[in-house]
Symmetry: none
Subunit: 195 residues, 2 copies
DNA sequence: TTGATTAGTGTACGTTCGTCCACTAATATC
DNA sequence: GATATTAGTGGACGAACGTACACTAATCAA
């Protein structure tokens, strides 16, 4: 009863459970899930997974997944060999996009992109910018600002001593609002191709 | 000590905690976090949030977030009028990334974008494409295909009687793999500007 | 002004949880 | 063939967790 190698199947059961419930189960639940008859087996499994960097503990010792826990086998490449249908990705669980893209929910909001003024930065009309409210932004950051009573998204730039808003499209002029009212920085973006 | 309205600030503290730790804290931890002196206050808060559909319990009664828990406000055009800090009309326009971008989890997988061959479609190096496994794709769809044993993302096009893969960058040639092996269509994409 | 409702305090209690320790079984190493 | 090493069993125990109940305070509607 001793396999030197790690327990990949055990891990994937936990991953599936997490995908369903968004929670690492208790030792008792793990035992039930994996057919262990002693909670201790679960405790040792968890210890191994912690060691291997799949699990982690909060300051108050509660179990949480690490980033590695969510890593999908980039094995999509293998798929080729076998059946394309056969689970390219056991999509069973995927990191929720929310948790990937939103670090501080209370400071995060979405702003729809209108027009093509940020086209060259890959922000197209209809995209949505993920923004975080913040006091300070640096030149080069893409920021959300108020210009003429509307929200606009541009790259922050410094022009001599002055901060300006630079579109990422040569067809548009640099904006020099005064005062410059910045609401937040853009931390990400997404788009949907469907409807 | 009785505000009829819900506790948006309490919720957002929990959301931030979850974003950091990927775990709903215990009642004791919630009390510490929010300054409650009695665990019971936390229990009642949780009950309210369950009622409101932000939290949920696993079969074994452990607390987990619901989809609504992850919803963020879409644009805050209102903010301008009042304090940017003040929550805008919360009611409408709350969206979660997952529910927006992933329609069929079991058929959905992610493919990282490499290179700039899809630049003109706003898919930059480092972006992630959200793909859905499907049998049929139409000309004009952005698809995931196997070309030379690697995954590639291109626009599907029809050239006379033949389907070809068109890059969205004039510097790249049209691909005419035969047979053409399509894994799925790209239904969305996202990127993060951080790190 | 009264009464209902909502939010939080304080304390107590039973259950679950994680940990610990002794023990067993199977594999790999020398 | 002896011996670590690894994986799991089983039971015991203290601490943490969730729950319950009685009570207080603030708001709102009648």
């Amino acid at each position: 009863m001793a396999r030197p190698n790690h327990d990949p199947d055990h891990l994937s059961v936990l991953q599936d459970y997490y995908a369903q419930h968004r929670l690492i189960p208790s030792y008792a639940a793990i035992s039930a899930l994996l057919g262990f008859k002693a909670k201790n087996a679960a405790a040792m499994l968890v210890a191994r997974l912690e060691e291997a960097g799949y699990l982690q503990r909060t300051p108050d010792k509660r179990l949480t997944p690490t980033t590695r826990f969510f890593e999908r086998p980039r094995s999509l490449a293998f798929v080729r060999a076998g059946m394309p249908e056969a689970a390219p990705d056991s999509s069973a669980d995927m990191v929720s996009l929310d948790s990937m893209l939103v670090r501080t929910p209370s400071k995060t909001f979405f702003v729809p992109i209108r027009g093509d003024s940020m086209m060259d930065a890959g922000l197209l009309d209809g995209d949505t910018a993920i923004c975080e409210r913040t006091q300070h932004a640096n030149p080069g950051d893409i920021v959300v600002a108020f210009v003429g009573n509307e929200l606009t998204i541009k790259t922050l730039a410094k022009e001599r001593e002055r901060y300006v808003l630079k579109p990422e499209n040569k067809a548009y002029p640099v904006l020099r609002p005064d005062p410059l009212e910045i609401l937040g920085v853009v931390t990400g973006s997404f788009r949907s191709y469907r409807r």
